[in-house]
Amino acid sequence: MVTPLISTATVGHEFGPYDVTIPADRANAYANSIGGEESPDYGDSLAPIMVVAAALTRLIDDLGLFSEGLQTVHAGQEVSWVRQIRIGEQVEATARLAANSVRRGNHFATVAVTYRDSTGTEVGTSSTTIIVSGETS
């Protein structure tokens, strides 16, 4: 079994940058998943939480948390957003491991993410806390 990065990464480890540009087909899938009669008309804009989710998927992959045998619990989430993002607008996410500790055999990790547009201007931040169990190393 390959040792997942979560087992060895130290605080300050950087991830990305990830291209988290959301194309129209994924925006439509989001609407199908979340939407209802009361949902707002976003027009050509996105719910920013979708950009956060896209970055989180990339992070989980890079941390090795899709590895067989690991069980990951998404424990907490922080999000702040500066402005709306358009469908197809280029957004790049960079992340940093802000905490990584082991208690009773479980990893507790927090990853802080910054989102920037094509001009390099920050458009949002997020922080994700995860608990990972089932490591053999």
């Binding site: 087909d25 994924r26 925006a27 899938a29 989001y30 199908n32 998943s33 979340i34 939407g35 209802g36 009361e38 949902s39 707002p40 804009s45 719910a47 920013p48 939480i49 979708m50 956060v52 989710a53 896209a54 989180l56 998927t57 990339r58 989980i60 899709f66 069980q71 619990v73 998404h74 424990a75 907490g76 989430q77 922080e78 999000v79 702040s80 957003w81 500066v82 402005r83 709306q84």
Partner: protein, 139 residues
């Protein structure tokens, strides 16, 4: 404290909504987010996990909470809103969840008034799937 022209006050509730979390919605969320973890999609795999069956993405439940905030604050939630939540229980496909929010404080900031809400998403048995707080600039 009242928020003056915005006519909001501590104790005011957000208009929540119900949503049945069908497996179709979970599948669509996997397409949207790119998160195809089999714990959300593959019943035979999920049956071997601590949950014993498939669970919805936690971010799907959180997205419903943010949808409620976007409905209430169409021009400010996505431009200055903040939230901090914890995921306290899994949501299983077929369950109907209800979003909620209530103002706990209205504060004067450098950029004007902002409201702090307790927010969350409850499962059919009344337990929280997602719970936390959000801060939204008032229009």
């Amino acid at each position: 404290m009242s928020s003056g022209g915005t006519q909001r006050a501590v104790g005011d509730s957000l208009t929540g909504f119900e949503r049945e979390i069908t497996q179709d919605r979970v599948d669509a969320y996997a397409e949207a987010s790119g998160d195809h973890n089999p714990i959300h999609l593959d019943e035979s795999y999920a049956s071997t996990t601590q949950f014993g069956t498939r669970i919805a993405h936690g971010m799907l439940s959180l997205a419903l909470v943010t949808e409620m905030l976007a409905i209430e604050f169409p021009s400010t939630w996505h431009s200055g809103g903040k939230l901090k939540v914890r995921f306290s229980a899994p949501v299983f496909p077929g369950e109907t969840v209800v979003t909620y929010g209530e103002i706990t404080a209205i504060d004067e900031t450098e950029d004007g008034l902002s409201a702090t809400y307790t927010i969350g998403c409850k499962k059919p048995d009344g337990t929280d799937a997602v719970v936390g707080r959000a801060t939204v600039p008032l229009e």
